[in-house]
């Protein structure tokens, strides 16, 4: 066991309600890891939090360049945190490029801690600085703390016999130690983690511990930092918590659906940013009987999942934008064969390759209409990283109960971000009855219907239920091929009614309207939930009367959606696209909804939405 940082708490402590910290450095500097560790310590301390990893598309862009900068932002508070924060109170910049890339993300007057060892002439040039921003006035108005992180780290570990390169590599732990001291984060969480991570490599482990402690002690002993900042724990519901990222929560939700239905999980996927983490996570849990296949392409992945669904598994395929294009034909096949299947689309920015590591909600209309012929499909979207768990369960419930493919629209923000999660009681999770067909002596009708218009799920290996399905139009009840005119119209109608009927099986749209007389409804879907909550809290604080509602099911929408959106005089729909939900709402309910649109690959900031709400109320 490594030693803990020494020294006594002799400095003053300042109380704050909330803090936003941004760690930024070169792709190779380990900023995601640093942010992740800081997050864990913060979560365990009981602060509410939200995070935003922000990394470049390049795996290792040339060191020291602006497009190689990788950043991690976290907001934590003593109250409800709904977003990773609009602007950082503190930026930790490991090199000039990080400063250049992220200076505009720092609140005016904010704190900037720079690794001054890296501010060499050469690195300044690589970042595109003609002169040193630390001294040329660029940083006037900010509180600058230059810290020689690299050289202190190297000195701290020199007795441990690690190479210079390894020594320098552990400077991220110095930064973590320093910021951990500044915000009074518990050190044992990080030390325990280091032991687990590097326990097998004693010298690397010792070096990381030494750098972490050096950073912590530096904060405590140097006169540079006058005081520590304390953010009290947030009052939250009692229970056991953990920090969870959306990709984990989604994977675990799928596993939970498998456990609670007794239907084995089968996940086929082709590597694609930002959906690959789902494949990585699921492939770790084979002891749940989870089959994972890295398919030869997106189309194969979808077809494998569909083949597995035919065979009585919960077939799931995950992808992002370009992949959902490729899977479109297979989704159509799943619609006509009426098999339970889940398609996870982790949305990312832009058409074509676009901006793979950036966020957007651009695929809603694609999910809704992106297939030939009339092929309705249920669509569900999580609203926060932890919500991915219950949405995955919900998608599975509907897919299995209604024998239908379901599109789960996540996005890169939800997948990569994390938040504290009140762990559910697993025994209280809903069960899902797959109701596999069994022979009943009479002729088997593969396209007969139950009360929900779902057809039987008869899986190969069951004697007496041999039947053929496929992409050709089926005859009602018998499932034989049929080109009969009225049959096609009837089958088209049944497929639509079946999906529409799901509305009766989902909760009504909940409206938050504290005064009951709001003039404006802010309606959202997906990952904008946190921003909407933050912005609305602020305008309500200023005395405005604003209602909110958030759609989890985009198709079908809850039965009261039309009533809700036509009840308010004004409806504002913030979306990370050009107005796709707005189009659906206007078309379906003739509601005068307006879009607040942002397509920059970035989240909507609470302050810009706050402005938009105020403008709409008084503009």
């Amino acid at each position: 066991m490594a030693s803990r940082p020494t020294g006594s708490m002799s400095k003053t402590v300042e109380e704050r309600d909330h803090v936003v910290i941004r760690f930024a450095g070169d792709s190779g500097d380990g900023m995601q890891l640093t942010g992740d560790r800081f997050t864990n310590a913060t979560a365990i301390l009981g602060n509410d939090l939200a995070t935003l990893p922000d990394f470049p598309a390049e795996i290792r862009a040339p060191a020291g360049t602006v497009h190689g900068v990788s950043a991690f932002q976290i907001q934590f508070a003593n109250n409800d945190v709904t977003t990773p924060g609009d602007h950082a109170d503190v930026l930790v910049a490991m090199n000039p490029a990080a400063l250049r890339a992220d200076l505009d993300k720092v609140a005016r007057g904010g704190t900037i801690i720079i690794n001054e060892d890296s501010f060499t002439q050469r690195n300044l040039e690589k970042a595109g600085y003609a002169s040193d921003p630390a001294t040329d006035g660029t940083l006037d108005g900010y509180q600058i703390y230059p810290v020689p992180m690299t050289s202190i780290t190297v000195r701290a570990v020199e007795s441990l016999g690690v190479g210079k390169k390894e020594a320098e590599r552990s400077k991220n732990m110095f930064a973590l130690g320093l910021v951990s001291w500044m915000y009074g984060r518990p050190v044992d969480v990080t030390l325990r983690w280091l032991e687990k991570k590097f326990g097998g490599k004693p010298e690397i482990y010792e070096a990381n511990v030494a750098s972490f402690n050096a950073g912590y002690n530096f904060g405590e002993t140097t006169e540079l930092f006058a005081h520590q900042i304390h953010v009290a724990a947030a009052p939250v519901t009692e229970g056991i918590y953990r920090n969870v990222a959306g990709s984990q929560a989604l994977a675990w939700g799928l596993i939970a659906a498998s456990v609670r239905s007794g239907v084995p999980l089968f996940y086929a996927s082709y590597p694609i940013t930002p959906a690959s983490d789902l494949l990585h996570e699921l492939s770790k849990h084979k002891n749940f009987g989870v089959v994972t296949i890295q398919a030869e392409d997106e189309i194969a992945a979808a077809n494998m999942a569909l083949g597995a669904a035919f065979t009585g598994h919960l077939g799931v395929t995950g992808t992002s934008g370009p992949g959902i294009d490729l899977k479109a034909e297979t989704i159509g096949l799943a619609v006509i064969t009426e098999l339970p299947m889940i398609l996870v689309d982790v949305m990312r920015a832009g058409p074509s390759t676009g901006m793979p590591t950036k966020n957007e909600q651009g695929d809603l209309l694609h999910a809704m209409f992106g297939r030939h012929g009339e092929s309705p499909i249920p669509i569900v979207a999580p609203s926060s990283p932890a919500d991915c768990f219950s949405v995955a369960l919900e998608a599975a419930r509907v897919a299995i109960r209604y024998r239908t493919p379901v599109i789960l629209l996540s996005d890169s923000f939800l997948q990569n971000s994390s938040e504290p999660w009140l762990l559910p009681d697993v025994d209280a999770l809903p069960t899902i009855d797959p109701r596999f067909a069994t022979p009943n002596g009479s002729d088997f009708l593969p396209y007969a219907r139950d009360e929900r218009l779902a057809r039987p799920w008869a899986i190969p290996g069951t004697p007496g239920l041999e039947h053929r399905i496929g992409g050709l139009e089926r005859e009602d009840r018998t499932g034989d091929i049929s080109y009969e005119a009225e049959n096609h119209e009837r089958m088209t109608q049944i497929r639509r009614e079946k999906v529409d009927g799901i509305a009766a099986d989902i909760p009504p749209l909940e409206v938050d309207d504290p005064t009951g007389d709001a003039e404006l409804l802010v309606l959202g879907w997906g990952s904008t939930a946190g921003t909407i909550r933050a912005a609305v809290q602020r305008v309500r604080g200023a005395g405005e009367r604003v209602a909110t509602a958030h759609l989890r099911w985009l198709n079908p929408m809850p039965t009261n959606t039309g009533e809700v959106v036509t009840k308010y005089r004004r409806v504002l729909i913030p979306e990370l696209n050009s107005g796709q939900l707005t189009m659906l709402i206007r078309a379906r309910f003739l509601a005068d909804a307006k879009t607040f649109s942002k397509v920059q690959g970035l989240p909507i900031w609470a302050d810009e939405l706050e402005d938009a709400i105020v403008r709409m109320l008084h503009g």
């Binding site: 056991i240 749940f288 077809n303 569909l306 669904a309 009585g312 190969p460």
Partner: protein, 311 residues
């Protein structure tokens, strides 16, 4: 599992009728597909494979209809994707007998990628590729096995594409069983299919199949009773032309003996080797995971890692 669970006396009573669905085949009169269907329906009862443990999966094209005529489980998929659907089926339940019925356009053009990957994974599926060297369902365009210079509706001046050699392609894709047979030689067809069925893993069988409407006579040199005698080079394991099914490079050389069915051509089993099947490998990995990590427990999963308690 099928064999284990099967009642031996019950199996013996299976007949062709048990594999024949109530759907009337709708291929053109005289199509080679009828002969292949009859052969498959005829020999399956002999093998003791039960219809409910059998799945036929097809793509798009005339061959795609095959699925509807077998009274087994069946999935008529989309163009080219049958090997991918079949991979899902055979991996989800390795105890099933899974067949893919495909054509030269379906398997080698739009579905080429899935074919080669199913073969290299050694998914336990039997792939019957009906090669008629033409697109029949779309009424006569050249296919990836049509000879150079082929005059069709889409190539009035003759095609300039060089064709695939399907057997060589399958061998190059690391297939563990590769064979070629012809639609009108019931005995040879049945013998090859029987060997394919008994092979654990992917079996690729190219069947020269006459399209009497859009490409009649393409295989006359090989299919015709008289000419065929001279032009078929029958591969029989251990027989002259001294032949060993286990040698991939010899098989590859034999695959290239002819450039197409216009000169003496090998038929029979080119290559067979033992390799673990994909479905079994996946299943044993799941079993090993349980041995190593214990059976999955949801609470353990969610509570793993750092947690904290409030209240």
């Amino acid at each position: 599992m099928a064999e284990e669970n099967g009642d031996v006396s019950g199996v013996a009573t299976l007949t062709k009728k048990d594999f024949t669905s109530d759907q009337e085949p709708r291929w053109c009169p005289g199509c080679g597909d009828y002969a292949i269907l009859a052969a498959v329906q005829g020999f399956m009862p002999e093998l003791g494979i039960e219809p409910h443990n059998t799945v036929f999966i097809s793509g798009i094209g005339c061959s795609g209809r095959f699925t509807y005529y077998m009274d087994t489980y069946g999935f008529h998929g989309i163009h080219g994707r049958a090997p991918a659907i079949a991979t899902g089926v055979a991996t989800a339940n390795p105890d099933l007998h899974v067949w893919v019925v495909t054509g030269d356009g379906d398997a080698l053009s739009i579905g080429g990628n899935h074919l080669i990957h199913a073969l290299r994974r050694n998914v336990n599926i039997k792939i019957l590729m009906f090669n008629n060297q033409i697109y029949g369902l779309t009424k006569g365009q050249y296919s990836p096995t049509s000879e150079e210079g082929k005059v069709t509706k889409s190539t009035p001046f003759g095609s300039v594409d060089h064709p695939f050699n399907p057997v060589a392609l399958a061998l190059g894709a690391e297939a563990t069983f590769v064979a070629r047979t012809v639609d009108n030689d019931r005995k040879h067809l049945t013998d090859v299919l029987r060997q394919a069925t008994e092979h654990p893993g992917s079996a690729f069988v190219e069947i020269y199949q006459n399209c009497n409407v859009f490409n009649d006579g393409a295989f006359d040199l090989i299919r015709d009773k008289q000419q065929g005698l001279h032009n078929q080079i029958r591969l029989v394991d251990g027989e002259p032309i001294v032949f060993d099914e286990g040698t991939r490079c010899l098989a590859f050389a034999l695959a290239h003996l002819s450039h197409g069915p216009t000169e003496p051509t090998c038929i029979g089993v080119f290559h067979e080797e033992d390799r673990s099947t994909y479905g079994e490998a996946v299943r044993s990995q799941l079993e090993r995971a349980v041995e190593r990590l214990g059976p999955g427990d949801l609470k353990t999963l969610l509570h793993g890692g750092d947690t904290w308690t409030v209240g």
